[in-house]
């Protein structure tokens, strides 16, 4: 009851923001309201997509009572790997990293699969062999250059590997999530720079024979000249995550771990496994965001993601997911992401200067949290 009331407030906030946007909006050359135009709405969907995808992964992590500060730099790492895989022929640091990620995940999933579906005591050796074969096959492909599929496998899986490492530090190493992922954030930035190479930090993407395949630009395409593909990816990711959270046992485990870890453990919830999965998924989505970045801005580089993790956390918090874990929803995060996106859009359309924009965004976060905690209602104040 209380939760639905809070969600109602957030919907109302979004509705009022949209109304304010329409009223304040400048007119275009023909007198149309720019804010409400279908094109502008499509722009907003594209503009929020990166933050949105990161925020979905972040929601899962925060629900377990954790936090993932590494998503920004992991995103940038993904963009760097994507750009180098697409543009270069022959083995590079990026193809090696991609091969390692692909091989490790193949081996890991093969072991888990064999133990679950064949016999619980299945030996790990064949799975490791399979992983090695996959890694070598991927690496051997370097001479021909990689297509969209290769990039869509390598970058997200590399991100997932970073996430898995964070998860291990948190779940097995018992490090505070803040510290573990802070360390990961810095390491991944360094790894991104190493993979970029010291001589060229920016890797531009050009299309054509011997360069990136034209198909890669589909990831930045607008369907019918309007609907942005990254926006659709965001919505699909959000829908999948919402299903996972509400319809599967994994989803129940995520909430249980965040609600009361000890109680969850005693009632048989696989706490460690659940944490490993959420951090891996967060990393996977960050890597995917990196691929979309590479497509959108036709370049990959290791440094643009700095600070993005904070935007994602802000959206999650505005969406009503508690930083203490246990309560929250993907739907809330969706609203949080849209609130942020619309606010930025309105401020931009109003030509508010960027310093003032930061102040307004800060106030939005404070306001949203006060609202969520129920401290911003008159009845309470009157008492």
């Amino acid at each position: 009851m209380i939760a639905s009331l809070a969600r109602g407030k957030r919907f109302l906030a979004l509705a009022i923001l949209v109304a304010a946007g329409a009223i304040l909006s400048p007119r275009d050359r023909d007198g149309g309201i720019v804010f409400l135009s279908v094109g502008n709405q499509a722009d907003v969907l594209r503009q929020v997509s990166s933050n949105g995808i990161l925020a979905v992964g972040m929601t899962l992590v925060v629900l377990t009572g954790g936090i993932d500060l590494a998503v920004g730099t992991t995103m940038a790492l993904g963009s760097t790997v994507a750009a180098r895989l697409l543009m270069e022929r022959g083995p590079t640091a990026a193809s090696t990293a991609g091969a390692v990620a692909l091989g490790l995940w193949t081996a890991l999933l093969a072991i888990l699969g064999a133990r679950r579906f064949l016999r619980p005591s299945a030996a790990p050796l064949p799975a490791l062999g399979l992983g090695a074969v996959v890694a070598l096959a991927f690496h051997a492909r370097a001479g021909h250059g990689y297509g969209v599929l290769g990039v869509l496998l390598a970058a997200p899986l590399l991100g997932a590997l970073c996430g898995l490492a964070s998860g291990l530090l948190v779940a097995r190493g018992s490090l505070q999530p803040f510290i573990a992922t802070l360390a990961m954030m810095v390491s991944v930035l360094g790894a991104g720079r190493l993979i970029a190479g010291t001589d060229r930090m920016v890797h531009p993407i050009y299309f054509g024979p011997g360069q990136a395949p034209e198909a890669f630009s589909l990831l930045r395409e607008r369907i019918f000249g309007l609907v942005p593909v990254p926006g659709l990816v965001f919505l699909a990711v959000a829908a999948l995550a919402a299903l996972l959270l509400t319809q599967t046992s994994l989803g129940r485990h995520v909430v249980a771990v965040g609600g009361n870890e000890e109680a969850a453990r005693l009632s048989g919830v696989p706490v460690t496994r659940t944490k490993l999965i959420v951090y891996s998924v967060s990393g996977l989505l960050a890597g995917l965001t990196g691929v979309l970045y590479a497509a959108q801005y036709t370049q990959g580089k290791p440094d643009p993601g700095t600070g993005w993790e904070l935007d994602a956390i802000a959206a999650v918090v505005i969406g009503g997911t508690s930083l203490r874990g246990g309560t929250g929803s993907i739907g809330g995060t969706l609203i949080g992401v849209l609130l942020f996106g619309y606010l930025a859009n309105i401020l931009l359309l109003q030509n508010v200067d960027s310093s003032r924009q930061f102040v307004v965004k800060g106030l939005l976060i404070v306001g949203a949290v006060l609202l969520q905690e129920g401290r911003l209602s008159l009845r309470r104040a009157a008492q």
């Binding site: 009331l5 109602g8 407030k9 109302l12 906030a13 009022i16 923001l17 304010a20 304040l24 909006s25 400048p26 007119r27 275009d28 050359r29 023909d30 007198g31 720019v34 135009s37 094109g39 502008n40 722009d43 594209r46 503009q47 990166s50 001589d199 920016v202 531009p204 993407i205 050009y206 930045r220 959108q296 801005y297 036709t298 370049q299 643009p304 930025a344 859009n345 309105i346 401020l347 931009l348 359309l349 109003q350 030509n351 508010v352 200067d353 960027s354 003032r356 102040v359 307004v360 106030l363 939005l364 306001g367 949203a368 006060l370 609202l371 911003l376 209602s377 008159l378 009845r379 309470r380």
Partner: protein
């Protein structure tokens, strides 16, 4: 529900910071400018010159300036917004070429004339490019150095060159232009090779500190920007040798290089002109239906002890 409504209104209070301006339906033409960052002095000067020129055309069009905080994604958002607003002329000074090229092409597809300033994008469909020519500026500095050291064919002396970011194109071009003149003089020796000062004053100081220890005679310091030249001057001053050395910088931002020349700390600096004023003039011509040149290289000029007073007066900067 009532408290919820009120609290939501409270939560939206930040919006009160917005200037409430629903514009009338028949509006003046709009010239929109997306600047990649405004945290460095040259960009600040750039915006100032642009706005000052725009004030002269206030009856012709409205100017809208957006600052992308040095972020490619934000600059792309801004340009997308300008496309939606159907602005009449778009000015862009890109953070980087590959990231901005696609969205600039979209603006062109939407029929908006685009003027690209300072750094170019990778398409030849833009209306015009306006920017400084670093090679030319390097040549001007090289010519000045040769004159200062005795004139063509007779020049003699030891030169220290302090580089900007080693891999950056502006530094490369400022170096090559300088070499165009200095390399022809057998009497000029270049001490220290490829010293990277990364455009920073403190690094200029550190490089000069080392050079002063290593070489008993230094006649001229050429730094790829004024702050590094000033840093080198400070190092020489601390070593008590500033009187015997000429310090040559580049950029001539009035508050920096201009003032330093006026105070006698730098011997000369060369203007790396901002495209601000020229961009507005060209935007005005486009709006009046005239054509503009495809590329406009901005000329440099020397700021020396002889010309600095006029230079500062023109920029409206007091030296003391």
């Amino acid at each position: 529900m009532k408290p919820a409504l009120l609290s939501t209104l409270g939560f939206l209070l930040p919006l009160a910071l917005l200037p409430a301006c629903g514009r009338s339906s028949k509006r003046k033409p709009v010239v929109a400018f997306s600047q990649c960052t405004t945290t460095e002095p040259w960009r600040v000067l750039f915006n100032r010159e642009l706005k000052r020129e725009a004030a002269k055309h206030a009856d012709l069009f409205d100017l809208v300036v957006a600052d992308a905080d040095d972020r490619t994604d934000r600059q792309v958002e801004q340009v997308e917004n300008f496309i939606r607003q159907k602005v009449d002329v778009l000015l862009v000074s890109p953070k980087e070429s590959p990231g901005l090229t696609p969205v600039v092409e979209r603006a062109i597809d939407a029929g908006i004339p685009v003027l690209v300033l300072d750094r170019n994008v990778a398409t030849d469909r833009i209306t015009a490019f306006i920017g400084g020519d670093n090679r030319e500026i390097g040549r001007a500095a090289g010519k000045f150095a040769v004159e200062r050291l005795g004139g063509p064919g007779k020049a003699k002396g030891n030169v220290v060159e302090i580089w900007g970011g080693m891999a950056s194109t502006p530094a490369q071009e400022r170096h090559l232009g300088f070499r165009d003149f200095v390399a022809k003089e057998p009497g000029i020796g270049v001490l220290l090779d490829n010293q990277d000062g990364d455009w920073k004053k403190e690094k200029g100081y550190a490089i000069m500190e080392t050079a002063l220890k290593a070489f008993p005679t230094i006649d001229l310091v050429y730094a790829h920007n004024d702050p590094m030249a000033y840093g080198a001057y400070l190092a020489a001053k601390d070593a008590g040798r500033e009187k015997e050395i000429a310090f040559v910088g580049i950029d001539a931002i009035p508050e920096e290089g201009g003032v330093w020349v006026k105070k006698g700390w730098l011997t000369a600096t060369f203007v790396y002109a901002t495209p601000g004023a020229e961009a507005i003039r060209q935007a005005a011509r486009i709006l009046s239906g005239e054509s503009v040149p495809r590329t406009t290289p901005l000329a440099t000029r020397a700021v020396t002890r002889q010309t600095v007073d006029a230079f500062l007066a023109e920029a409206g900067v007091k030296s003391d």
